[in-house]
Symmetry: C2
Subunit: 128 residues, 2 copies
């Protein structure tokens, strides 16, 4: 069914190598010099496929979607000043059981999104 393509591999490899949590367009811009004919639509298509395959996750933090190829259990923090997303490497043991006690259905997964301010932005003027 699924064939390989230079473009799909490039999108996945690019995401694996980066520690930030790029948007589709950031991936596109980063690959464009290497694959000059690459189209943004192809990046979107491949990101969806990779997400469906469970190889990457989409972080829906509000407006623009960001992506992450690190599938180990961890959570994210959204810096409300600069909009960047940071990893928080914690496991929340028991949080699914806790939720299941109060919910009359099946819980498959959870994700925690913290909001706050990253250390870079804290360092800059605390004023407006």
């Amino acid at each position: 069914m699924t064939k390989h393509s230079r473009q799909r591999d490039a999108v996945y490899d690019n995401l694996c190598l980066r520690k930030d949590h790029p948007t589709a367009e950031e991936i596109y811009l980063s690959l464009k010099p290497i694959l000059p004919t690459l189209s943004l639509a192809t990046v979107y298509r491949n990101l969806s496929m990779l997400e469906d395959e469970g190889k990457i996750i989409r972080i829906g933090s509000g407006g623009t979607a960001r992506y992450d190829a690190d599938m180990s259990e961890h959570q994210h923090l959204l810096c409300e000043k600069c909009g960047k997303v940071f990893d928080i490497m914690i496991k929340c043991d028991g949080i699914i059981d806790k939720g299941a006690e109060k919910f009359n259905g099946k819980i498959d997964s959870y994700s925690v999104l913290y909001k706050g301010c990253c250390s870079d932005c804290l360092g800059k003027t605390n004023n407006i």
Copy 2:
């Protein structure tokens, strides 16, 4: 500064009365019969204002934003079959401290988004 308006009160009241977590358009459609001249842009503008005032929260569950006027501490579950959002009334004590231990910045808030299947959808055929 902030004046009252029939439209803003209507949006807020509508959201308070509903137990589902409507989108902006669902609120708009529900108010249109009562306020026939109401515009979708006004609903969006008022939802943003109410959010800024801290009277409602926006649930960013992926594509379309949903809103909730219940400001008590609770979390949400997104049913992956029907797309509805359900309340899960739990407090995750200590989860901010836990995150703060692993993050070099300031954490203001957290939200947990569970994914799974609601009891209604579980009841229906488990097949595709």
